[in-house]
């Protein structure tokens, strides 16, 4: 388990949506390797397939074709994939997710929201450092506040903490700053960068915001479900 080994390997994957008789290839034959410790940003115009790709890499969705290997395990090959419960197991061991919206439970405090995942699943050894995690995310003074008392940036940081309590190896972030102003967006970018550098967390980020994308170490451009040139 060295820091440089591949954690996600996608080979010529496709994701085809059927809309009536029409078939749309949202991801159209894309190959990609994500190594442990990567910080990669995906950019591209609306509809270019960024969300679709992130969902495939994060095992939230199944490819229509191609091969996908996650953590050494073949998740999909030539139209055959793992069952939903097998995917759930991979997801909870490996991935944390954040989205444009935060989906915090408004009647639970910050600390309680962050602890929710443990009600359903606790990875071995997880949960020892929840306070440290909150501190790292700049939330130490906010633990007993309700979400409504927080700023948007703080709410997203709570969502990040919640995604990280079970110590995932990969954090998938789809437009995490879509609801935030540019200053707050960059703040979140710095948080992700710090987690990547200090904890070795693998981060996959989808964003429209070029400035935010620049906090990543690698930027991959998408267009019509394929890679455009890397910048």
């Amino acid at each position: 388990m060295k820091a440089t080994t591949a954690i996600i390997e996608a080979e010529n994957i496709k994701r085809i949506y059927k809309r009536g008789a029409e078939e749309i290839a949202a991801i159209d034959g894309l190959s990609l390797t994500v190594n442990r410790g990567d910080f990669t940003a995906f950019v591209g115009p609306s509809g270019s397939g960024k969300t679709t790709l992130l969902n495939l890499l994060g095992c939230l969705d199944n490819p229509s074709a191609g091969k996908l290997v996650v953590n050494g395990r073949t998740v999909h090959e030539n139209g055959r994939g793992l069952s939903e419960s097998q995917l759930t197991r991979i997801r909870r061991e490996l991935f944390g997710y954040i989205f444009q919206k935060f989906y915090l439970i408004p009647t639970l405090t910050v600390l309680e929201n962050v602890l929710v995942p443990f009600t359903f699943f606790r990875k071995e050894g997880a949960g020892q450092d929840v306070r440290q995690l909150l501190k790292k995310l700049g939330l130490e003074g906010r633990m007993n506040h309700l979400p409504a008392e927080l700023s948007g940036g703080e709410m997203q940081r709570v969502a990040i903490a919640r995604a990280l309590v079970n110590r995932p190896e990969v954090l998938l972030a789809d437009e995490p700053t879509g609801n935030l102003d540019s200053e707050r967006s960059l703040e979140i970018g710095q948080v992700l960068k710090k987690l990547n550098e200090e904890e070795g967390l693998t981060v996959l980020l989808v964003t429209h915001n070029i400035e935010l994308a620049r906090t990543a170490r690698v930027i991959i451009g998408l267009k019509d479900g394929k890679r455009s040139q890397a910048r």
Partner: protein, 403 residues
């Protein structure tokens, strides 16, 4: 500064906080269930309370059967339980015929007379006199207790025993004299009964022969109380009694059945209402929970992405439903207890005949059963919304109704 490894929030806590998100909606649902539970408990409480009181009234009569002169049996029932009017007479000889039967343990002849007393109340009122046999009547009415004095012993004595209310109304005590209206005969009060809650309270008891003489009804009776031995075949005995001329037999179980039939007709109606109330409140529960599940689709998707399995989500939603029902059940039970007096008052006004004792009896068993039933119904109604939530796939839930 380390958080303990055991630090975790329970499913219960999450469920509870989820309900707190839409307080008004949750509260309305709880109130709906509470009202249904309230109706349910009050009705069942009434059912058992009413039956108990009626049983007690009938047991206090002391004898299981009454032979009266021919007339309508309904009137006979009313006569017995309410103290009667429209009296018909039969000859004393009938007693000898009855005693012949082997099933009879003891009999007591009675003569009832009702007199209009112009001095009673503001516009006059009825006073009931019951001539009883001092040798047999006290034994057949062990339920009667004395506030003062005791029974007369001489069958022709000029003495009376007054029911509790009769004594109060006339303001008589033991040793006082009592004058029968318009008869100009003075009788001595030898006993005052304690309150029994039956028509005996308003009755004035005289030795049978004395009453017969005063009213010119020598040799006449209005009724004969019969205590049948426990081993006797009641149906067979009733058959035999029916063969006696010009009399009819009223068995108290029959009276009870008549009244219970009357009441049960009303009860079926009210039970249907309770059933409808419960169905409506369950639809309310399903609606509330389903709505909250739909609103939280994305959140449920996130829970699943965080590692919650279908069963976890099912349990969470199910728990929310049960909590709503449990709260509604407890509130409804409290309401039923708190308003039982009011309910009793209302029912008493509605019923054709109400026994004297408590009409509503709400016991611990009834309350626990009702709450249990409501929670069970809640669990049943929670299945569908919980299933809907559990079935959602994380991506679909997260992507749903994208704005």
């Amino acid at each position: 500064m380390k958080v303990k490894n055991s630090q975790k929030i329970s499913l219960f806590h999450i469920a509870w906080k989820n309900l707190a998100r839409k307080k008004t909606r949750s509260l309305l649902t709880v109130v709906g269930i509470a009202l249904a539970t309230w109706v349910l408990i009050s009705l069942f409480g009434f059912n058992s309370g009413y039956k108990n009181s009626l049983d007690r009234d009938i047991d206090n009569l002391g004898f299981q059967m009454l032979v009266v002169a021919k007339g309508c049996p309904y009137e006979a029932a009313t006569l017995m339980l309410k103290g009667g009017t429209g009296l018909k007479y039969m000859n004393e000889d009938v007693v000898r015929l009855i005693v012949r039967e082997p099933e009879v343990e003891s009999v007591t002849p009675m003569l009832m007379q009702v007199v209009f007393d112009p001095n009673k109340g503001q516009s006059g009122g009825l006073t009931a006199f019951l001539g009883v046999d001092p040798a047999s009547f006290p034994r057949l009415k062990p339920g009667l207790s004395f506030k003062q004095g005791g029974w007369f012993t001489d069958p022709a004595a000029l003495e009376v025993v007054m029911g509790y209310e009769a004594a109060e109304l006339e303001q008589r005590e033991v040793g006082d004299l009592y004058l029968i209206p318009e008869k100009n005969i003075e009788l001595k009060v030898v006993g005052v009964l304690g309150r029994s809650g039956t028509q005996d309270d308003g009755t004035i008891f005289l030795p049978l022969q004395t009453l017969q003489k005063i009213f010119g009804q020598e040799g006449q009776l209005t009724s004969v109380g019969i205590k049948v031995s426990k081993e006797a075949n009641l149906a067979e005995f009733e058959e035999k009694m029916f063969k006696l001329p010009d009399v009819q037999v009223v068995s108290l179980t029959q009276v009870k059945t008549t009244i219970m039939t009357l009441v049960s007709t009303a009860r079926i109606l009210v039970f249907s209402i309770a059933l409808i109330a419960i169905l409506i409140s369950i639809m309310g529960v399903i609606n509330t929970v389903l709505m909250s599940v739909m609103e939280r689709q994305k959140e449920i998707g996130i829970l699943k992405a965080m590692g919650a399995l279908a069963g976890d989500v099912f349990r969470l939603v199910w728990l929310e439903t049960s909590l709503l029902c449990l709260m509604g059940g407890v509130l409804g039970a409290a309401l039923a207890l708190g308003t039982s007096r009011l309910t009793e008052y209302l029912i008493r006004k509605l019923l054709p005949f109400a026994p004297s004792g408590g009409l509503i009896s709400i016991g611990a068993t009834l309350i626990l059963t009702a709450i249990g039933a409501v929670v069970l119904l809640g669990l049943l109604s929670g299945i569908y919304p919980a299933f809907r939530a559990a079935r959602m796939r994380p991506l679909e839930a997260i992507r749903s109704e994208e704005e």
